[in-house]
Amino acid sequence: MKVLVAVKRVVDYNVKVRAKADGSDVDLNNVKMAINPFCEIAVEEAVRLKEAGVATEVIAVSVGGKACQEQIRTALALGADRGIQVETESGVEPLVVAKLLKGVVDKEQPQLVILGKQSIDGDNNQTGQMLGALTGMPQGTFASEITVNGEKLKVTREIDGGLQTLSLSLPAIVTTDLRLNEPRYASLPNIMKAKKKQLDVLTPADLGVEVTRHLTQVKVQPPAERQAGIKVEDVAQLVDKLKNEAKVI
């Protein structure tokens, strides 16, 4: 079974992001970039499927500028077999990413596509679902557990109030939630080996996709500063404040 994993280059989750002075975007100058944590979970799951003998090949794909090859190499160091970069300018919107990924799916014909449920920069939570719609493949989003059983895929989803289990026919699309697994760290020998693994670069034209922009980012601004909290003397005072000041009860 061939598994396609999408990985995105985002600001490292430890970085405290700042808006540019003119409010046009987030300031990415000298900011540490990393693989999106949900994508890292997706790579880990694919590698585990390979180690379990279920998957035969894991392909990591990313959409973006040359810099995103770094994140593809990270995925290769974690255990993916080869990589594909679809070269575009950075900041491509989810619908275009989904169209480009569909192009890769058509080309590679994977039985399973695993994506992070969302990226921690845009927080859109759209690409996996859009890819499902474009390809017509069944989708299991927010997966906390997946099991491949022949031509069927069992996906346990985290939903409000509990867990939902779906049975999907392969080929299928899965988006990962935080608790699906705990990603490993790449070992030094694997980091060295990753440099030698195949990494193909495609253009949107190769995939027959036209990159168009439907959305315009109007403004980026930091959240309002929170005011300092206070300590209350007792429960009665807390209830009083919740009732009369916050007016939440």
């Binding site: 430890n14 990393a34 190499r73 160091a77 490993r184 760290y185 790449a186 070992s187 030094l188 020998p189 980091i191 060295m192 440099k195």
Partner: protein, 362 residues
């Protein structure tokens, strides 16, 4: 010449730094103090990453890298105050075993065990008064005169010594020095091996000290930005921020000598002793200044057990005296500077013609 680190070296250092910053927390270090001074799970993770095997030659199952590949990793280990004896084992004991392996089967076997993650080695250099982390080692590299002895740890009696740094468990070993099976290098080969180990030890300690200094500066800058007095962060005051700026500058000035020393140890061992001493002195000064100023910036809290800063400060105080104190390394530099044959000056640094040659040409 391009002295920047290669893409591979930078990638390895970044990967290990990410791991260390996520996994090595002050809470985890404090927890290790409660036991035998070792976090078994953390060591296993370090083995899985392949770190102990980095400097093991490929013919013994390692990655065949050198000190320059490891130096930034050592710096990151200092930045998080890693308590595990990774750096001492991987960068001093392992190359020493590799140096001796050609004439010693036991050394070759232990190298294979290190590469497989099955053995830890502690080293007792004659310059250091005690052997760090001997209690959790499987093998001890010890000096008997100039000879090198490789002793199974269960064949030695380990006498515990006090340490200012709770993360460093110090021991004085006693063993049967007459047993021929322990001897892996005689007087001549042993002297060369101990000399090379001293240079590596000084360089790695320098890298750890630099990392510690940078870690303390980072914590203090964060604290000075968060802690408010009289309605503004204390870091806004020149008396605070200039102290930390001095520490940052001192640390930055230590960085180049350390990288140069790592290069010398890896590529030019004949001149490594000077570079190693220079690096150790520069890093020691930077770390001591950072510890002193960081405690001041933290105010009274900086001196307490509850504040994490002391984990870094105590390590800096301990390591600054290890592998030769400032006096020892100053003495080495003074002796070299005063030699008639010392190759200092621009003509030796940049291959420029000597001043006399220019005069005669004119």
């Amino acid at each position: 010449m391009d002295f920047t680190f290669t893409e591979d070296q930078q990638l390895l250092a970044d990967s290990v730094a990410t791991f260390l910053h996520r996994e090595v927390t002050p809470e985890r270090i404090r927890a290790s103090w409660e036991g035998e001074g070792s976090d078994t799970r953390l060591w296993q993770q370090l083995v899985e990453l392949g770190l102990p095997a980095m400097l093991v030659p490929e013919e013994h199952g390692g990655l065949g890298m050198n000190e320059l590949d490891f130096i930034q990793i050592a710096q990151e280990c200092g930045r998080v105050a890693l308590a595990e004896p990774l750096v001492e084992m991987a960068m001093i004991a392992t190359p020493m075993l590799a140096q001796l392996a050609a004439g010693s089967q036991p050394c070759a076997r232990v190298l294979q065990q290190i590469a497989a993650g099955e053995a830890r080695v502690a080293i007792g250099h004659p310059l250091n008064p005690a052997v760090a982390d001997a209690g959790i080692a499987d093998w001890l590299l010890l000096a008997s005169g100039r000879e090198v002895h490789l002793v199974p740890s269960d064949a030695a009696t380990l006498i515990r010594q006090d340490s200012v740094d709770p993360s460093r468990r110090l021991y004085t070993p006693e063993w049967d020095r007459t047993a021929p099976t322990y001897r892996v290098a005689g007087e001549e080969a042993g002297a060369a091996a101990w000399c090379a180990a001293l240079n590596r030890g000084a360089v790695l300690n320098a890298a750890l000290l630099l990392g510690l200094a940078q870690g303390m500066v980072a914590q203090s800058v964060t604290y000075a930005g968060d802690r408010e007095q009289f309605g503004r962060p204390i870091g806004a005051n020149q008396a605070v921020k200039h102290h930390m700026a001095n520490c940052a500058v001192q640390a930055e000035f230590a960085r180049s000598p350390i990288y140069r020393a790592a290069y010398a140890v890896a590529q030019d061992p004949a001149r490594a002793h000077i570079a190693a001493s220079h690096a150790k002195l520069a890093a020691g000064e930077a770390a001591l200044l950072a510890a002193k100023n960081a405690i001041q910036v933290h105010g009274a809290m900086g001196y307490t057990w509850e504040c994490n800063l002391h984990i870094w400060a105590k390590r800096a105080w301990a390591l600054e005296k290890n592998w030769g104190d400032a006096g020892f390394h100053q003495e080495r530099l003074h002796a070299w500077l005063l030699e008639d044959t010392t190759d200092i000056g621009a003509e030796h640094t940049f291959d420029y013609p000597a001043p006399e040659a220019l005069d005669s040409a004119a």
